[in-house]
Every structure is written in structure tokens, then in C-alpha cells.
Symmetry: C2
């Protein structure tokens, strides 16, 4: 056995056989599954979702297949593609900075499509999602920054490995067959960052999910592959500018990396999120808009070229404005909503008055995930700081993800979805209710998000 | 409009709108379609074909979909995957040295699956195959040797672009929509040479065909993409070690490159083919085995490490033996047959006697596509030379491809297939008969070819 295939063996053994007993991991799987379904339901009417859905329903309909966001069923591979693209359409899903990408939108659609097709139970599905998400994060870290900088989109590439691990785990493949599936994925994993700003970005997530389902099903049917395909001399890593960080697999299965995931709570540029969180803390502490005399924002210098529109006039500009979104947060506007980023919001007198009291300063002592704010309230200065990479309390995240879901899909659907997802842990439960939630017609067409906007909101991955 | 997207525009305009009036191109499309169907039918029982077919029939069956080799119908995407892998399973399909790969096994399955799904007529299908094959060759040349040497398998990568062009042409997409489809393919095109020697190699062809169908259908349904995705700053070319040979697109649509394709007429290592062709000429000129006193083979030195088994004992070794296959050719054995490479053939006294009169010499004045032979017959020396890249007469190729088909699938099936393919040019003909031929149960299970063998037979692409 060659040294070079240690990584593949480790991954395959982990994905096929590990127990998912870690309570924190289980909790984050629950949160991400809920958030994934929320943004997928909310994204159903986006143009990329419509295109993918039309393609699947016209060319791969299957009553025995898997459920699509918005309803209907297609072959497992087609459903994975549609649901991956749909859930990433708003670019509002979870992000993992170790993975350098969006893990859930590749992994969960693959796991669900495989589970519906194989009639797997909920416990199997949840374990599969867990190992898939962890695999995506580990492979993403192994490929590393060099892979991303070279032009590859980890959401698509390491996402394909995570999706394969998840689908193969659903199917119950043993470690040797899991290895075949992962090595088949090595010759299909793809995805370019040059698609950012187009429908190609969410499609990269869908394509990764499809790769996972197809490679797992092929391996189950007896297809085999090269054991060198991931880390051999001309394996996926070397041929795709991978940094080959060996430590990326350390303690896999015991030290779970996925729970470092970040959730998005504001439907605007990622560069604004740390500031919005800091201001949210002050607002929660009782700051009232009418009392605010001055606001100073300190942020990493790189963001000033990205999201510092001083006086936005359109909804699109609003999504890239420290000053206006600061005013929106202090003024009680729900920044999780897609609709509030509008020309009307930009024109509100009260928000403009607040906005004009905001000053933005570069501060290179901060990382690009951090922001510090100071607000002068009746002569008194209040300070707050936030780092969006800081570990968060899962109970607090649950509260906020449920509020986000209420904003995006309505209170009743959000409640129903939460009850469904949180009930999946029960013994012998099936996935029928989850599939029903995914397939329910979305309540309204909702606002259409221009794909160039959706991608530019979250420029980091 | 940026300079950098000239290639994409050229390709899209060519693939969407070019007339295929070139008689030589039409003739080679006919020959390759026939050879593709022959080796696909012959490959139906190979393990990789069985695995892919089982996967498709179990997870994506579709009565309205497209036909699989061996029978049954699946979604267009799944059928393309299955038929691509099946037709490359024996590694006995056509090769193009400018493309650096196997064009037909990626392009034709995509065109056929799209055509069956869209109920396109035969004339549309033939035009689509032509532009798809040409696109694969042009993109393969544009990616160039550097791409191949870096570890990528043009059969999968440029194959995906060719398959997309073919499927999109079948669907009648205009040039702008064709461009979207090709740019979507840029974020999915994949395939590693590290799969050589495994089922991953034929699957690379199937994956490319599937990419073509899916990207064409997505573009038809309204999905859009980045116009920089192929040749932009971080487009497919740069990120995949492409050599960016701009001349690769010169005179596209007027000077057709595909007709430089090579066909395989011997079921053994590619390094033996030039010698076998030269000896075949002498045999045709009347050389009789009993008269042969000595045979000298001159070949490019690199082949001596590949296929110079001096006294093979097994069928596998026979496929890599200059001396034995020379004896087989002179002794009247049908080297196109899969079955003749057997332990029994190795043990035949008459062949061993001939074999022992053969001497193999390296000659670095020859290219690796050339061989020279001299045969001493009753004291007289006869010479012959062959270059497998030399242009061949299409009528002679037709004769030989029909003989190959007779060997592989039987005389009746070969005749029926030829009549079907050669009848496709007629006005208003449909693809029903071609689909029937593809879907007919293969006559016998045939010999099972070990995938490590199948790939090693043809080490060049």
C-alpha cells in the first residue's frame, strides 16, 4: 500500500464507518439542515432554480426519484443538481472558512436525493450529512488557499467529495467501496470561481451534489477507480493546485471541524456582517435611534473598496453600504429580509438622517472578519466589537436561524420546518416530512435577486 | 467585448450555425458513427458498462428518455453517461492525435441522447455530431500537449466541450445560448489521466457526454454563465494547464480537422498497429507463412519498453508482443478480434515457429506512429512501411471498419448497422432505427476485458 494514498484511506474509513456521537456536531448538522432548507425554499423562484428545475422535470422526471425544491420529483442525480443550485441561488447559506466555501449546498442535496431514492431512514441520513459536511471541510482545507487562489471554487470541488461521502454513506457502502466512489469523484470534481457573478456559481453547488450522487451510485453498482486519483502523482490535488495540507485530516472523526461554520443573518455584502452584529448588540442593549449622535465604524481596509457606498440610492447599492445598513440596523429594519434592500429604504428620511451621522474608518489592526463600532448616545460613548468567526452558542444560533426563516419563508412554514428538522433525530423516523417541506410550493414568488448581485453579496467563497 | 473571449464566440458561432457541407467531413462522421456504434455494442457486457447501465436503469429510467447500449431507456443525461462509458470500455474506438484523445465516445452519446429526447431528425443529428466532433478536436488542440502532460485527459475535458456543442446543436440553440452552454461546460469539464488502467478511463468519456447533455439542456432552460469561463483570466484553459494555442481555431468551419481521425483495427497495444499494417500490406501482396525465412521489425525506441514481449504465454502478454502479433498477422489470424489474444494462440506451434524468426530493432529515425518491416521470403527481401497518422482513403476505411464490425458483432448485425448508419443521410429520416441498433441486446457476452488491460492497450490517450 502506497504512502500517497493515506488520505484516501483515511477519508473512506471515516466516511463509511465513523460514529457520529459528537453532540456539538449533531447540533450543527441540525442547524445547517434547517438553514439549508430555509434558503432553498426561499430560493425556489430564483432564475437559476427555475432553469434547473425545468430541465430536471422535463428530462429526468421520476416518481420514484427525489423531491425538488418547489415540488416535483426527478432522478436522484437531477434532484441533487436542482436542489444544490436552488439552495445556493440567494448566496444566503452557510459558509466555512476552513473549507473555503459553502458546505451544505453541495452535501445536503446529495444526501437527501440518495436517501429518498434508497428509502433510508432519518438517522442514516443525519449521519451521512455529518460525514459529508466534515469530508467537504477536510478536503477543502487539504486543497487549501492555493487551490482557491488558482481559480477553483471549493464549493464545487471539495463539495463534490463531501457530497460523494454523504451519498455513499446513505447507501451503506463499505470503506473499500466508499474509496472507489471518492476516487471516481476525483475525476469529476470541478468548479471555477470565474463563474462568480453568474448562475454558474450556484450551479457549481448543484453540479457537486450531482457528482456525489452519481459517483456513489456507480460505486454501489460495481464501478471501480484509481486509488491514486485524489493524492497521487497526477491526482486531483496536484493537478488542481492543491496545497496538500496533511494536517487537514488530523483527528478526523474525533475533532469535528464543521461546527466552525458561519451562518448568514443579513442579506447584504459579507463585509458588513461583523459591523451589523456589533450594532445589533448595542441595539439589544437599548440604544434608540433618536438618541444616536454619532456612529464610528472601524473595519479591515480591504472592505472599503467593496462595500462603502456612502449614500446609496438603490437596493443594490444599499447592500454594499456601511453607512446605510448601520442606520437600518439601529433603526430597527430587519436586515435578514431580502425585500428591505430597496430604493424606498434608501429614500427614507429617518434612515438618511441616521446614515449621515455614520463615519467609516479603515483599521488594519482588525482581521477581515472583525469590526468595531462606537456609538455616541446622549454624549455617552458605547463600544462593541464582533468577529464573525468567533464560536457561537448553538442555542443562540437556533434562535436567530428561526428568526431568519420566519423572515424568509413566513412564520408558519418556519415553525413547521423547524419541527420537522428537530424531529428527525427520533428513532425510526423517516424523511417523508422533510421531503414534503422541501417540495412544498413556496408561498410567494418573492423578490427576484439578480445573479450578479447574489454572488457579489458574498465575495469570499 | 473583450479580446479574451474571441475563442468562445468563434466556437459558439461555429457550433450553432455552421453548415456541414464538406463531403469528406460528412463521410468521416458516417465512418465514426458506425465504428462508435460497433464498439459500443461490442462493449455492452464489459464490467464498466454493466455498472453504469445498472445505475441508470435503477435510478433514472425514463420511457421518454434515450436508449442505452444493450437496451432500456434512461434520462438523456444518464443515457449519455452510460453510452459514453460503454463505447470506450474496450478502448477500441477512434483516436485523434490533434485532439489528443478519443472524440467520438464523448460527442456521439451526447448528440444521440439529446436527439432522442428532443425527437430531432437524422439530418440535425448528423450535423450536430459533425460540429461536436470538430469542437472537441479544436478545443483539444487549444488545450494542447501541456494540458495532457499536466495530467488531464482530453477525452473527458475537451470531450465535454464537444459533447456540449453537439447536444446544443441538436436542440437548435442560437449562438448566444450555445455560448452559455459552452461556458457552463467550462465549470464542469473534468477528467484525469490518473484513471488510466481503471474503469475511470471509460467513465471519463461518459462523464463528458453527460456534461454535454446537461449543460445544453440547462442553457436551453435559461441558465446563463460567465463569458470568460473558457479563456478568461481564471477560465478553464489557464486553470487546467492549457497551452492556449490560438491557431487551434484557425479556419474552423472551412478546414475540418476531424477527418484526420485514426481508427483501430487491431485489438492490441497501439504500439503494434503500424507494424501490423505494414505486414498486412505484404500479406495482401501474397506472402505465405511457410515461405517466410526472417522478419525484421523497425520501430520507435519508446515502444520497446511497452510492447516487446518476446515469447508471450498469455492472451494479455500477446497484446504486447511485436513478435507474436507479427506471426499472427502473417499466419492469417484476425487481429481485430478480441478472442484471438489467448493462451491458446500463444501456444500454437506454427505461430511460435514464425514468431522465432522475428527480430525487433529500435530505430530513432522513425516517429512513434511509424514502423518499417522487412520480410525475407525464399531469399528475397520484401519491404513495407506504415504510418498510422497518414491520411487514409475513406472507402478503404469503410471496408475495414465493416470487417472489424463483422468480427466484433457478427456479420448480420454489422450489415444491419451499416445500412442504418449509411441511410441516415436520406431526407426526413429519423433516428429510430439507429436507436434500435444501439439498444439491441448484444449477441453474446463476449470476452470480458480486464479494465487494466483495456486501458493499457492504447496508452496514447
Amino acid at each position: 500500500m502506497k504512502d500517497t494514498i493515506t488520505l484516501t484511506h483515511k477519508l473512506a474509513a471515516f466516511a463509511a464507518t465513523s460514529d457520529v456521537q459528537d453532540a456539538r456536531m449533531q447540533r450543527f448538522v441540525q442547524l445547517s439542515l434547517f438553514d439549508w432548507a430555509t434558503v432553498g425554499i426561499a430560493g425556489t423562484h430564483e432564475p437559476v432554480a427555475r432553469a434547473a428545475r425545468m430541465m430536471a422535470l422535463e428530462t429526468a422526471p421520476s416518481s420514484k426519484g427525489a423531491t425538488l425544491f418547489g415540488g416535483g420529483r426527478a432522478s436522484a442525480a437531477a434532484a441533487a443538481l436542482v436542489n444544490g443550485a436552488t439552495s445556493h441561488a440567494l448566496d444566503y447559506d452557510d459558509t466555512h472558512f476552513g473549507h473555503i466555501g459553502h458546505p451544505s449546498v453541495a452535501v445536503i442535496p446529495a444526501a437527501l436525493a440518495a436517501a429518498e431514492t434508497a428509502k433510508a431512514d432519518a438517522a442514516t441520513f443525519l449521519d451521512a450529512v455529518a460525514v459529508g459536511l466534515e469530508t467537504a471541510c477536510r478536503v477543502g482545507a487539504w486543497l487549501g488557499r492555493s487551490h482557491y487562489e488558482a481559480g477553483f471554487h471549493q464549493t464545487g470541488t471539495s463539495g463534490a467529495f463531501g457530497a460523494t461521502a454523504a451519498a455513499a454513506r446513505v447507501l451503506g457502502l463499505d470503506a473499500a467501496t466508499m474509496s472507489e466512489a471518492l476516487c471516481l469523484a476525483a475525476t469529476r470534481a470541478a468548479g471555477l470561481k470565474s463563474q462568480f457573478g453568474t448562475m454558474g456559481k450556484p450551479l457549481n453547488a448543484g453540479f457537486a451534489a450531482e457528482v456525489g450522487v452519481t459517483c456513489a451510485l456507480l460505486a454501489q453498482a460495481g464501478a471501480t477507480s484509481s486509488p491514486d486519483a485524489i493524492e497521487g502523482v497526477q491526482g486531483f490535488g496536484v493537478t488542481h493546485a492543491g496545497s496538500a495540507e496533511r494536517a487537514a485530516l488530523d483527528q478526523i472523526g474525533t475533532d469535528w471541524q464543521f461546527p466552525r461554520v458561519s451562518y448568514k443573518f443579513h442579506a447584504c455584502c459579507h463585509g458588513l456582517h461583523a459591523m451589523l452584529e456589533a450594532l445589533r448588540d448595542l441595539r439589544s442593549a437599548g440604544v434608540v435611534p433618536g438618541d444616536v449622535e454619532a456612529v464610528t465604524i472601524r473595519t479591515h481596509p480591504r472592505w472599503l473598496a467593496v462595500c462603502n457606498q456612502p449614500a446609496p440610492a438603490t437596493g443594490l447599492q444599499a447592500k454594499f453600504s456601511y453607512r446605510l445598513t448601520a442606520a437600518m440596523m439601529l433603526g430597527g429594519v430587519d436586515t435578514a429580509s431580502l425585500e428591505v434592500y430597496s430604493d424606498e429604504t434608501c429614500a427614507r428620511d429617518d434612515l438618511q438622517a441616521l446614515r449621515d451621522r455614520v463615519t467609516v474608518q479603515p483599521d488594519d489592526s482588525l482581521t477581515d472578519s472583525q469590526a468595531s463600532v462606537s456609538v455616541v448616545v446622549r454624549g455617552q460613548t458605547l463600544e462593541a466589537h464582533h468577529d464573525i468567526l468567533a464560536d457561537a452558542d448553538p442555542n443562540s444560533l437556533e434562535h436567530r436561524l428561526r428568526a431568519k426563516a420566519t423572515t424568509l419563508i413566513g412564520a408558519a412554514a418556519a415553525e413547521d420546518l423547524w419541527n420537522t428538522v428537530s424531529g428527525l433525530g427520533a428513532s425510526r423516523s423517516t424523511l417523508d416530512r422533510l421531503a414534503e417541506r422541501v417540495g412544498a410550493p413556496a408561498q410567494s414568488a418573492g423578490p427576484r435577486v439578480d445573479p450578479s448581485l447574489a454572488a457579489s453579496i458574498m465575495p469570499t467563497a
